[in-house]
């Protein structure tokens, strides 16, 4: 952002290999990377594209089982690959810093934030302990953390995820490095939290003229942060250009397809007849974990062949509502109706047919599929359990289902979940839900762990299945782009209360409830000026969590 034209990092012809199954497999196949002082480079690509590996290689570092087989990495005239351990030790942490994706997992839970903050400056002899602590508070203020004088004396578990991510950025800044590598710093955060972190990262990088490599899979985010964007695909560079140039005029087909992802949108369906019986009707549900109520009088209907998207940030009660519907968490007050029939509140009291009608697809396909069970058995179990099919009939039905989710049965029937990609696992999750032949499926953040292209494929599949089988979906998500593409109706939740509900077209048009408005405005757009405009329009104190706090 304050590009000086002076070269900082130069990587030439980098080839990297990872060891698995006794052989070295290529991860990066000859990528060049240059970064000037004060410049921010965005690295994007889907998972497995090698962006994190390349980002770490810019520090001269490789993870265990990975090696740099060819190429050179020069940092400010120092050859990092030939540098001694002492030389590297003097650079890392002092002149090169790293911000990891999950701050919660990267802080040591046993030490206070400020102690961890001042460790690097003291070790590298940049500042004394007291100076560094003073400087830490100053940085916390610049990053707009609440209570900058006190927050450093808390332990990592005592601050929220977004605050922790900012504290980690402050820690990376503690020695005033020349280069910071941001590895998906906002991916795990809610939109309203993300925007604050983005604004403060951008601000501080600009103030200190730090060069940065910003790794992400979210194009809209990188558009706000980077001066230049490099697109990676399976270890190869696809293209690189200035941000504006890249957004307005992508050259390669792959880049264009990334840009086009957000264009999938289903037509609005006609309004539901007023006398139609909803498939699922949630009526005045209040539920509690222990003695604390987490849902307050939640009511909404889901009709045949419709998708109701439930949106809200984490902790707003979206998933708890799903748990009430499935009967895992019997509500304290209120009831759930299926086709006009009241469902028993506890799933253990429901009969087999009632259980069959309500199916669920999970966010993390990794934990939703038993890693020791073969695909054919995972899908075959509900077929046998509900349909009573065995032997050849069962196999035939499973093959039909695999067909429906667009995976060739012959190839996948005997595989284990670990032999599938993330998107394929999610498809198996869908097939398992379909195998029960339900009327209603709860989709709990089904696309949020997936790359955009893969996620779009899943959304299209779900839409097609809905049209073919007249399914009803409850679609839990915090991603408004997903809502825009698949939902018919939207329910906005905050703190266990439904703040607004209605057809999709109404929701995306003003007037909104203040919270809906905030959610909508916090979704990054592809326009590189979006964040700047938003900040000038609203002011730093009226975005993100700060604004949410004002509302209550």
């Amino acid at each position: 952002m304050s590009d000086t034209g002076e070269l900082l990092v130069e990587m030439r012809g980098i080839h990297m290999e990872g060891r698995s199954d006794e052989t070295w497999n290529p991860i990066i196949k000859g990528v060049d990377l240059t970064l000037n002082k004060g410049e921010v480079l965005g690295l994007i690509g889907e998972s497995g594209a090698g962006k994190s590996t390349l980002g770490l290689a810019a520090m001269g570092f490789t993870r265990d089982g990975v090696r740099i087989s060819q190429g050179s990495v020069m940092f400010d005239g120092i050859d990092l690959l030939a540098a001694s351990a002492d030389q590297k030790r003097a650079l890392l942490g002092k002149r090169i810093a790293y911000v990891a994706q999950s701050a919660a997992a990267s802080f040591n839970p046993a030490h206070k934030l400020i102690d961890q903050h001042s460790e690097a400056p003291v070790q590298h002899g940049v500042m004394s302990r007291t100076e560094s602590e003073q400087d830490g508070m100053e940085l916390y203020r610049k990053l707009r953390l609440p209570n900058p004088e006190q927050i450093g004396f808390r332990y990592p578990h005592q601050v929220s995820g977004g605050q922790l991510q900012r504290a980690m950025t402050a820690m990376a800044m503690s020695c005033r490095p020349d280069l910071i590598i941001f590895d998906e710093p906002t991916t795990a955060l809610d939109v309203t939290t993300q925007i604050e972190v983005l604004a403060s990262i951008r601000d501080i990088v600009e103030q200190f003229g730090t060069a940065a490599i910003y790794i992400t899979h979210d194009l809209a985010v990188v558009a706000q942060m980077a001066d230049r964007i490099k697109v990676l695909l399976k270890g190869d560079e696809v293209e690189e250009a200035e941000t504006r140039e890249m957004l307005s005029n992508p050259q390669q087909d792959y880049t264009k397809s990334l840009w086009a992802v957000r264009e999938f949108q289903r037509p609005q369906k006609p309004a539901v007849l007023t006398d139609a019986t909803p498939v699922i009707s949630v009526q005045g549900v209040t539920a509690a974990y222990g003695k604390v109520d987490v849902l307050h009088d939640v009511s909404f209907d889901i009709h045949e062949g419709r998708t109701v998207a439930v949106v809200g940030e984490s902790g707003s009660g979206k998933s708890t509502t799903a748990r009430c519907i499935t009967g895992l968490l019997p509500p304290r007050l209120g009831q759930i109706e299926l086709d006009g029939q009241v469902l028993p509140l506890d799933y253990r009291k429901r009969n087999k047919d009632q259980l069959r009608q309500v199916q669920m697809i999970y966010q993390m396909a990794d934990t939703a599929l038993n890693p020791r069970t073969r695909i054919g058995d995972i899908i075959g179990r509900p077929v046998q359990f509900y349909g009573g099919l065995t032997g050849k009939d069962k196999r035939k039905r499973v093959e039909e289902l695999l067909d429906q989710i667009e995976l060739p049965a012959a190839q996948y029937f005997d595989r284990l979940p670990s032999e599938l990609s993330g998107g394929q696992k999610q498809r198996i999750g869908i097939a398992r839900a379909l195998a029960a032949e339900p009327k209603f499926i709860i989709c709990d953040e089904v696309t949020s762990a997936l790359d955009q292209l893969v996620a779009e494929g899943i959304l299209r599949l779900l839409a097609r299945l809905q049209d073919d089988l007249k399914l009803s979906y409850m679609f839990i998500t915090h991603d408004l782009a997903t809502v825009r593409s698949i939902a018919d109706e939207v329910v906005v939740m905050k703190d266990g209360v439904v703040v607004e509900q209605g057809p999709k077209t109404d929701m995306f048009k003003p007037p909104h409830h203040a919270y809906t408005d905030l959610l909508l405005s916090s979704v990054p757009e592809m326009d590189p000026d979006w964040l700047t405009n938003l900040l000038t329009e609203r002011g730093v104190d009226n975005i993100g969590d700060a604004a949410v706090d004002k509302m209550t």
Partner: protein, 398 residues
Amino acid sequence: MSGLATIVVALVAIGIVAWVGRFAMQKISGNAPKFRDMPFAVAFGYVLAAVLVALGVWYFFQPKANEQGIQNAGVIFFRWAVQGVLIGMVAAWIFRFLGRMVGTSGSRKLFRQMPLTASFGILVIVVYAVLAIFAGLIAPHGQETVFAQANVVPGGNPALGGNPDFPLGTDQIGRDILSRLIYGAQNTVGIAFATTLIAFFIGGTLGFLAATLQGWLDQVLSRAVDVLMAIPSLIFSLLLITVASAWVSGFGLTIAMVLIIAVIDSTRVFRLARAVGMNIVVMDYIEAAKLRGEGLGYLIFKEILPNATAPLLAEFGLRFCFVFLTISALSFLGVGIQPPLADWGTMVRDLSAFINYASFAPLAASVPLLAAGAIALLTVAVNFVVDWMLYRSSGLKE
């Protein structure tokens, strides 16, 4: 110079050699990364290891006996130990080499990734298993047969008091020690194996039940286990076996011992199974199965058990060692496997007096060490294999 001063001087000398050696290697190798980035502690370790190896070699080639013909027992035992380790390593290496050559592609791959310790462990376990299963065919004599010659020295050399008919000698009432060792494998190892299986069946089932159902059942079972674990296990089993001996005797007492040790050890298995199960029941696929309306049996055996096999197998190996040592200890105390059945623990107890000859008659003193060594070897072998399995299942390998 006192001993302490010698050690200090030696360590300082090693430190100086390490520093100089590292500096020299840096110059000679033209600053190769290996020497350039070597911390001083690592260099010190290399020199210390070299010094220890040199000392070992020097001691190994000391004469076996002095001019007066008195045997130098330390040297003899040291030679046996070194020879044993070397033979073990060579055997393990050959075994691994063969494993890499024959078998299915899967087993060949397994052997390729295997460290030498694990292949040694597997080899020992295989040998023990063969000996235990075919003891009746392999053993030259019966385990209860008493010969006229008692206290024959092992080695089979008549000049030293041995007898080629009894390569490992005979015990104090004239039974062939080799045969008793082989039958002991059958008795001790077989009983330990059965005991461990029962312990796992009880502990595993209850542990998974507690993890799945939770609530009051979990509370009752866990507190009961806490109470059982609070009593020192060896003393507790001694007490219970003594009580049991009021009703049963002979073979019945052995069965009682198996059950008692199984129940006491199942508390440890319960703890592990419950902890592992707790981590698995929170997974989404368990929730999916519950919402499908699956019964308890399906949940435990089809969903939880396949995902808990790695830690349970590792625990099985360790638990087997503990059970085995407990049985040997009980036999040593006289309440375990009852004579005339051959058992390693009893053999160590019966022959333990010979250990007093260690300083002047190493061959005679080695008699109780044979059974003790058989116990130690199996324990070490099982632990090697368990370590390797834990390493494989922990995901550290990637």
